[in-house]
Amino acid sequence: MYAFFKKDILVLFRDRTELVVLLAMPFILIAILGFALSGLLSGNSEVLSMEVAIVQEDDEEQGIQRFAEELGKSGLPADAQNGIMAAAEETSPSSMLQEILSDESLSSLVTAKEMDGAAATHALEEEEVVAILTIPEDFTFNALQKMMLGAGGGSELELLISDYAATQSEVFHDILEEFVWSLNFESAIARAADGEGAVPEEAQPLLGGVESVSAVEPISSFQYYTIGMAVMFALFVGATISAMAYVEKQQFVFHRILLSDHHPYVYLGAKAIAAALVTFLQFCILFFFSSLIFGAFDLTDLSFWPGMLLIAFSLAICVGSLAAFLIALTMRYNNDTITTVFAGGVVTVFAFLGGSFTPTEGMPAFVQQLGGWTPNGASLNAFLIWIQNLDISMLWEPLSRVFLITFLLLILSLLIFPRKGEA
């Protein structure tokens, strides 16, 4: 097996034109698309812009007042009371939330509209907003009690997320989580400053949120097209390896291989491994140079790359079975039209559906659906989720699609590939 794919890789590397197609082309396209379309993604963040409804049931002023009254009854020294009161006014969670949502870096991303409960529900149903954030009654009071005095059960923000714009609403969810985190952190500091001891290692969950920090930055065009082109050109690897197999058959080297008494599946498997390996290498090279030259990604961010490589790896395996599938058809019908059609048309269609050229967000829903089921589209989604630092569990959906496609292609190739080597 090792001998087979070592040879394949050697042959591939001797073939300059193939290398140019597989490595230089995507890189050039990244450069062109990245520069030309840099406004599309980072400038006005169309992809991720969203509207959310805020339902305000809390009365902040009254909450602070009630907290002041509670504080008065606590029997703390007057000095301390004044300090806490000042901190409470400063860090009133409700104001902080408003501040975050109207922050400049987010304003291009999130437009918050205050509504009453019924109007918000209606807006969500009409898909005018992607989420409803409800700030419940007594939120300010309960939160301050917990934050400043460590009393009571705290309070929770309620977030109702629509399911028609999963990515956006997830982003919003993350923004809130970040808020929750900073709130927890600040309250811990506040209490520490208050003489309640050292900063606890893990801040008490105050609002019932998960403590994850996320920097929701809009994706840069270079990031987008690095991924877009990488997943698209990964498909070409499948076609290239399949074309190589056809040449082996045409030039009768395949006969030599059969004569060495290897099961044809060994040959097929080695080809799949070669395709997977080349795809993975291709990803690494594109990522590396795109980061180096266009600054697409931070090469030094060690927590970032494992996820990227994992997704790249999944797609690489998928391309392996794609190659096997194409080879199986080619060998079965002794005709490489299928590979030519795949490389000459199917890849482009897939790339378009999967969002390699332009994000699919603006396209009709069925196109998005379809695109999500192409191996490149699914892994593009996975990459986007990872890069935007969204909830890791969201990766499962696109990745499971990639796995499913891999599995199906593999089964099909085993069924189609002529087991005796000769059709």
């Binding site: 080297v253 006969h255 030599r256 004569l259 005796k420």
Partner: protein, 310 residues
Amino acid sequence: MLETEELKKVFKGKTAVEGASLYLDKGESVGLLGPNGAGKSTTISMISTLLKPTSGDVRLNGKSVIKNPSEMRRVLGVVPQEIALYGELTAYENLKFFGRIYGLSGKALETAIQRSLELVGLMERQKEIVKTYSGGMKRRVNIAAAMMHEPEVIIMDEPTVGIDPQSRSHILEMVRQLNQEKGLTVLYTSHYMEEVERLCDRVYIMDHGKIIASGTKEELKSILSSEETVWIELDRPYPEFFKELQSFEMIKQATETEKGIKLILPKGSRVLGKVFQASERHQVQIINVNVQTPSLEDVFLHLTGRKLRD
């Protein structure tokens, strides 16, 4: 040690090979002769387990190899008619790969590569890309690749097609050595009579998918022992004269070529006198007359009425 029984192959309704029975004894050198499309390569593919016969059987040491090709593949080296090599790789890399897939590695692999390269006389240029080789060099590597696993039987399918005389005589000499000094069993396919005459002990002649004659060279030629070939060299073609010769009953076969006329006659027939009389009548300029002992080429002509190479 190797035999086939009534091999038959039908491709989509077209019979390529029919009733091919042949055998190879250990250490023998056997030729398979036939014109283009005779079914030589198809027969070889079936023997070497690459092609499943429509009917018939291939046996190695008495055991059928159709269901169980492993043993055959182990002892067999096949030199395909086409250059079955990776053009992008060097000769060395090609041999390394083909050695590896036969399970060779490390020192044994390296030894096998050098042994095979030496055999075909390509030691010096082994690190060059095969694509850049001459036709003859490619043919030699093609043979070397089949020798990597030290086969006991080697089947060569027209290993000298389209190459320079030097490479050709090198290859012929090499095959002779392998057969006579190393004791390899050889099945040599060609449509060059003189190659087969030089290399092989026994010959099968194929035409239109069937084996039309077989035997030692002498046996085959004795088919013609009752006949003789007369070769009349002329200064130019004389169609009228040729026509008249064709009408002579005693003349078994008359063939017209650019330089003259070839006649196959029963031995001792006194027909030549009549031929000369006719030549005078047609004012034919005879340059030379030659009575030949038969060659395999003549045998082929006799059997099929056609020349081996058109």
